[in-house]
């Protein structure tokens, strides 16, 4: 049983808690509580470390979501050079623990899948978790899981792929066409974003957050602004919040429509592939009507938004939206009406709800397995407060489910967007940002188009970032793709991959 003195609690999104209000536990107690909370349906939304001001020890933070209570519990402890891994009992921690090991050179003992995550130099002097010496580690250099046998073969793909797509390395263990196991090794896009943010906010920070994952600019940009605003003790005007939510939904629409087009292309259903390819651009152009950029650049700014959406523009956007909606529905329904196309998606790349839950999956991929996970529903923020009351769920967990979630979300999103454009609140759109609170932890969560993205900022005693943690939905979900490929034909990989459409740079940071 846990006592209220043992953890911190945040019930707002975004929300803060003073570091002094966060008790420092012993690792043994910390791990007990983590496991207990996860067993009761809690979910790890962030799990990261920072160096202590003095000495070699690290401070470990766990942020655990209790979705249906709408609250976040925060646990804190110190760890030394090694600590017993919790992954065997709580698989959703597997990447978090590896990430901490890679960053600081500490070792989660008995981690069952102990490999580097992004292949960068560790952040501090001292020993390396894999004893790789002082040389910079080479990307992709690790022990891959291998299946041996006479008719077994291995297929290695990447980092440079055949399409216009980001780099990543994939290893398939195959028996004929059948995939027994897929291992994904990333890190090629690692730009060191979190390290650049230490000591911030810097003038360049907002631009780096806009491009953590360039297809999720509104998502990551919003989360960053929310962290700063809650630390500064202000809230943007309702009008600014509405414009942010509109940008988020336009981002969702553009990407979902593009993904359905790409899925159609992968199964050879060309009409929808070509219509959706164009329509995706129409949604991007609507974003550009607001801020001049098809990718929301320049729109998200701490304290509000960089551009207003006046009545005349809102009316013009509404008119365009009505026309585009008709064409979007036509293009999508054509695809979902074709038995040959559906047959290519049903029962392909299926993932069970138990696996999805164990891996801590989020967003479209989690909802496709029957998990009700949506930040807009559980932790409503900004323009979604009291305007969002739906969460689309499918249960078959296959390519079809992931496609159908997108289709249904497109229609819901269009409906929400038209309503929002009609009732934009009045007021200003941007206010000055006061200095940030010192020695405080702030959490912001946003439902990006892929799923839940989380940003955590911890300030030092001068109000500068001592640690800034970014968790893209892809961080949780890549393992889901690997698992979904088991016992599938390798030729179905492109289709499965597209149905997840995860971010490489959002994972690599």
């Amino acid at each position: 049983m846990m006592t209220p003195q043992e953890f911190g609690k945040i019930v707002k999104n975004p929300g803060t808690i003073a570091l002094t209000a966060l008790p420092v536990l012993a690792y043994s107690r910390f791990s007990e509580l983590c496991l207990e909370l996860c067993k009761e349906g809690g979910r790890i939304v962030a799990y990261f470390a920072r160096p202590q001001p003095q000495g070699d020890d690290l401070e470990l933070f766990a942020i655990i979501a209790r979705c249906w209570e709408g609250e976040l519990l925060i646990l804190r402890c110190t760890i030394g050079r090694s600590f017993p891994s919790l992954t065997p009992l709580c698989p959703q921690l597997h990447l978090f623990e590896r990430e901490i090991a890679e960053t600081y050179g500490v070792i989660p003992t008995d981690h069952p899948w102990f490999k580097p995550v992004r292949f960068h130099r560790r952040w501090r002097a001292g020993s390396d978790a894999w004893n790789r010496g002082e040389e910079r580690p080479l990307p992709g250099e690790m022990n891959y899981y291998q299946v041996e046998g006479e008719e077994v073969h291995e297929v290695a793909v990447g980092p440079v792929h055949a399409g216009v797509i980001e780099p990543g390395h994939f290893r398939f263990q195959c028996h004929g066409e059948n995939v027994m196991h897929l291992e994904i090794s990333l890190g090629y896009q690692h730009r060191g974003v979190e390290q650049l943010l230490i000591g911030g906010p810097h003038p360049a920070s907002i631009f780096q957050l806009e491009t953590v994952a360039g297809d999720t600019t509104a998502g990551h940009g919003s989360a960053y602004c929310m962290v700063l605003e809650t630390l500064a003790g202000i809230a943007p005007s309702p009008r600014a919040e509405a414009i942010r939510a509109i940008a988020l939904e336009l981002e969702r629409l553009a990407n979902h429509v593009g993904d359905i087009g790409a899925l159609a292309g992968d199964v050879g259903f060309l009409p929808t592939a070509s219509y959706c390819g164009r329509l995706r651009g129409d949604y991007l152009n609507l974003t550009a009507e607001i801020c001049g950029s098809r990718f929301s650049r320049g729109l998200l700014r701490p304290g509000g938004v960089g551009f207003d959406l006046d009545e005349e523009l809102a009316t013009r956007m509404l008119q365009r939206l009505v026309a585009i909606e008709k064409e979007t529905r036509g293009a999508i329904e054509l695809f979902f009406d074709a038995p040959s196309a559906l047959a290519r998606m049903e029962r392909i790349g299926a993932l069970s709800i138990d696996d999805a839950e164990a891996l801590g999956m989020v967003g479209v991929a989690a909802r496709a397995c029957g998990l009700t996970r949506d930040v807009r529903l559980h932790y409503p923020y900004g323009g979604y407060i009291q305007t969002y009351d739906h969460c689309v769920i499918e249960d078959s967990g296959d390519v079809f489910a992931r496609a159908n979630i997108r289709r249904r979300e497109i229609y819901k999103s269009l409906h929400w967007l038209k309503k929002s454009l009609r009732d934009l609140p009045q007021g200003g759109v941007r206010s000055e940002l006061p200095p940030l609170a010192a020695d405080t932890l702030a959490v912001a969560m946003v439902e990006g188009w892929r799923g839940e993205l989380v940003q955590v900022g911890i300030t030092d005693r001068t109000g500068k970032f001592d640690r800034y943690k970014i968790i893209d939905p892809s961080f949780h979900n890549w393992s889901g793709l690997a698992l979904a490929l088991r016992e599938q034909q390798i030729s179905d990989f492109p289709l499965c991959n597209k149905s997840f459409n995860l971010s490489y740079c959002g994972f690599d940071l």
Binding site: R118, F119, H120, P139, P159, V160, A162, G163, V164, I165, E166, P167, Y188, Q189, H190, R191, G192, V193, Q195, L196, H202, A204, F207, Q208, E210, T211, V212, A213, G214, D215, T217, P271, S274, Y275, G277, R278, R280, G281, N285, A288, E289, I290, C291, G292, S293, R294, F295, R297, G298, G306, F307, E327, G330, A331, L334, D337, S503, Y504, C505, D508
Partner: protein, 251 residues
């Protein structure tokens, strides 16, 4: 079948009439920046301090913008107290020389055509291999868009191919992360000679928003010879298309 035909008729013909007709761009689109030197007083450095990437500089006593570093954000223009800085809707930004990306003093020097030998080889058919070397996927996304029916890159004889061995050159995006450096160089080596290299986006030209991160190389300039620079963060698809067509002597 009938429903497919019905939908086909409803969706209509959507390929843009570019380059015969100028593209229609959103009102707030930020293209080539314009500096009104007469309004820009000596000694005022308001905008210089606003750009975290050093895209603005005083050269020969006049304010100039380096399009290679510029992310085309609105900050400098809105901060100018004299109204001397603004962004036009001109999407034509690509240049053949690094120094031609400096803008503000004289007439813009747009990309020129390849030499006669290269034009004979690639002028009617250009195959490119795209390499994302740390890009945020926005440059990549807006290059992918060129394949849609709106732009229909294929009608210009330009195609993105799957293998560097089938390519005439590389179209590189991203600041070149340390983790992608050797993959980029290997891909370059696999392209048969003669070959061209295109740096697309602020990252590939100067490192973009990740400039000076210890994990990136500030673009491909120190690693590969560049034949075409396409500024933007990300460049608009028409900016990319304009650059490619100029390089092939079609504009």
């Amino acid at each position: 079948m009938l429903s497919i035909i019905r939908e086909r008729i409803r969706q209509g013909h959507r390929t843009a009439k570019y380059p015969q007709e100028a593209p229609t761009l959103p009102e707030r689109f930020r293209g080539r920046p314009i500096i009104d030197q007469e309004k820009c007083p000596q000694g005022c450095q308001e905008c210089l301090a606003r750009c975290p990437f050093g895209a603005l500089a005083l050269r020969n006593n006049t304010l100039q913008i380096d399009l290679g570093r510029c992310l085309f954000c609105p900050e400098c223009a809105t901060s100018c107290p004299h109204g001397a800085l603004s962004f036009s809707s001109d999407h034509r930004l690509a240049a053949s020389q690094r120094q031609d990306l400096w803008t503000g003093e004289k007439e813009a020097q747009l990309a020129s055509a390849l030499n006669a030998r290269m034009l004979r080889l690639f002028g009617r058919s250009l195959k490119l291999r795209q390499v994302s070397a740390g890009g945020c996927n926005a440059c990549e996304a807006d290059i992918n868009v060129l394949g849609t029916l709106v732009f229909d890159l294929g009608r210009f004889g330009i195609q993105i191919v799957a293998s560097p061995r089938h390519a005439d050159g590389l179209l590189v995006t991203g600041p070149v992360t340390e983790n992608m450096r050797s993959a980029l160089l290997d891909t370059y080596a696999a392209v048969p000679e003669p070959k061209i290299v295109i740096a697309s986006g602020a990252c590939a030209i100067t490192g973009g928003p990740f400039r000076n991160s210890p994990e990136v190389h500030n673009g491909i300039g120190d690693l590969l010879p560049i034949d075409l620079y396409i500024p933007g963060c990300p460049p608009h698809p028409y900016t990319v298309l304009d650059g490619l067509l100029r390089m092939l002597g079609r504009l």
